[in-house]
């Protein structure tokens, strides 16, 4: 449709402009269906988690945590590098300075607080503001929505977990007098820290997302998660040491911070600083891995169950 809305003569010299009103155009192109819908929710989840497309305040917390975690990896690499330069090659290993497995133990607290902030952003706001009602009338179901959000959280958390490890690995290699030799000797650390990062991520994702699904208030979910992750550890450690024996070992199993770290120990083949003295280690690797699987799959399955039949 063309509307000869305005014509203008520039200085009266015959130059004319016309405004075209193209009107409403129907869309006749391809509609990509449920796959595109899932990808859109997933992509939006990553943007929410990192604060993209939102105001400055939405970016502060996630990027502060990522910076702190990366800084931690960088500091560990610099200390190891300095030790190697001052006390000779291999000094960092001889002095038993913290490395890849220890990093997860050291950073776990910060990582869980990061999860406590990000997971509620992904789920609570959609329900509080009612946006989920618009998703559920699109060509996707509740389980598609929650799986896409679950995946988005997992990717962001994995990024936050692996970036410092990568910085640490490169830092250690650069700090070594012969970097190539370090890479040859320690290349197995890469699949190990990736595997341990996945273990940490899968565990945290299920638990954090499930907790966030129970409330529309982000603050409630965050506070509850921080309490769940951080308070259970000193409480269970103290109680297990006090009681001791088999009961003490079982109480030690409920230290949520340690559950993924025990599996990380299995991957690295040695206990980390945080789990070395944990009474739960007495149960053995198979029991600790099964316990981890229960705490990882359980919350994720319950989360899926809650969302699968969700209607506006």
């Amino acid at each position: 449709m063309t509307a000869p809305a305005a014509s203008r003569t520039d200085s009266g010299k015959g130059r004319e402009g016309t405004v075209f009103d193209i009107g409403y155009r129907n869309y006749t192109g391809v509609r990509e269906g449920i796959g595109r819908s899932r990808r859109a929710i997933f992509k939006d989840g990553i943007r929410i988690a990192l604060g993209f497309g939102r105001g400055g305040r939405a970016k502060i917390l996630p990027w502060l945590f990522i910076t702190v975690l990366s800084g931690l990896g960088l500091i560990m690499a610099m200390i190891a590098g300095a030790a190697n330069r001052l006390a000779g090659p291999g000094a960092a290993e001889r002095l038993n300075l913290p490395s890849h497995n220890d990093y997860y133990g050291i950073a776990a607290t910060i990582m869980f607080v990061f999860a406590s902030v990000v997971a509620p952003e992904l789920l609570c706001r959609d329900r509080r503001e009612g946006t989920i009602n618009l998703y559920l009338v699109r060509p996707l179901g509740g389980s598609d929505y929650i799986m896409a959000r679950w995946g988005a959280f997992m990717v962001v958390f994995l990024f936050a977990a692996l970036l410092p490890q990568l910085i640490l690995f490169l830092g250690l290699a650069m700090g070594d007098p012969v970097p190539l030799q370090y890479l040859k000797a320690h290349w197995l650390d890469v699949p190990r820290f990736i595997g341990a990062g996945l273990v940490m991520t899968a565990f945290t994702t299920g638990l954090a997302m499930l907790t966030a699904s129970f409330t529309t208030r982000r603050a409630y979910a965050s506070v509850f998660l921080v309490g769940l992750f951080l308070i259970t550890t000193p409480f269970t450690v103290g109680l297990s040491q006090e009681i001791g024996g088999k009961v003490g070992q079982w109480i030690s199993m409920f230290s949520l911070l340690n559950i993924p770290l025990h599996v990380s120990d299995v991957i690295f083949g040695a206990p980390g600083e945080l789990t070395e003295q944990a009474p739960a280690r007495a149960f053995g690797s198979a029991a600790l891995i099964s316990w981890y699987a229960l705490w990882t799959l359980g919350p994720s399955v319950i989360l899926w169950w809650r969302y699968r039949r969700l209607t506006p």
Binding site: Y27, R54, G55
Partner: protein
Amino acid sequence: MTVQPTPLLSAERLTKHYKNVVALNDVSFHIHDGITGILGENGAGKSTAIKIFLGLITPTSGKAVVLGENASENIGVRSRVGYMPEHDCLPSQVSAAEFLTHMAETSGLPPTVARTRAADTLRHTGLFEERYRAIGGYSTGMKQRVKLGQALVHDPAFVFLDEPTAGLDPLGREEMLELVRKTHREFGISVLFSSHLMADVERTCDRIIVLQGGRLVESGEVQQFTKETETVFIEVDTNREELITALQRRGIAVAVDGSGLTIEGPDESVYDQIRDALVESEAPLRRLAPRRRALTELFERA
């Protein structure tokens, strides 16, 4: 009005029970191209019917067909359907442009197309200038436009509008009703307009469906209902009783309405008979005027 052979929406003996509560009871109707109003009080079954058409709940018995597909079996049909809910549903932190792009993608449109469609839709709904502002800072009227925009951004064949004028001031309401009319007239998108505001439905819709207590009370063209309920109002200065007698003698049912008389559903010939009755009764005529009843009376009749 041309009735299309294939309806866009069909309810075929639709029944929905929630435990002991009957939300819809053996309801059947067809919805064709145009703007159709669905009227009913709270609990009449409007929302249940819309949810069944959107495939969000399955009927206890019967079938809901949307654009030729069984709504509860094929959620893919939702990519050709839009829905504007009554309640708040907008994210406060993002801009309208960003939000509509995302909703277009969620409906299955490729990202580049989604961006273009979002900008176009915001232009058509009158929000183009404000499209980069966070939705949280919008007025109620602007938010209603964003809600309508997200329902239209993927160019659906059919759109469900649930109380689109809720919370708007008279000017905003007028503009929203014009947008609804434009949605069908210019965009070619058929509309199911759910409301309990009779005036909005009467002014906007071509056809209506009236539900009450989960049952279908009426369905048909709006004009048909208003015509059916047309009356002639007569007011005379004196000799009112004589006029009534003269009218009744001519077989015309007449009712006393305040200071005047009313004759229901008259055809053209009744005016000649009224003239003759006035002459016969020697009643001085003060007022003779056709009067239309509002759709509210559909509920009174039910």
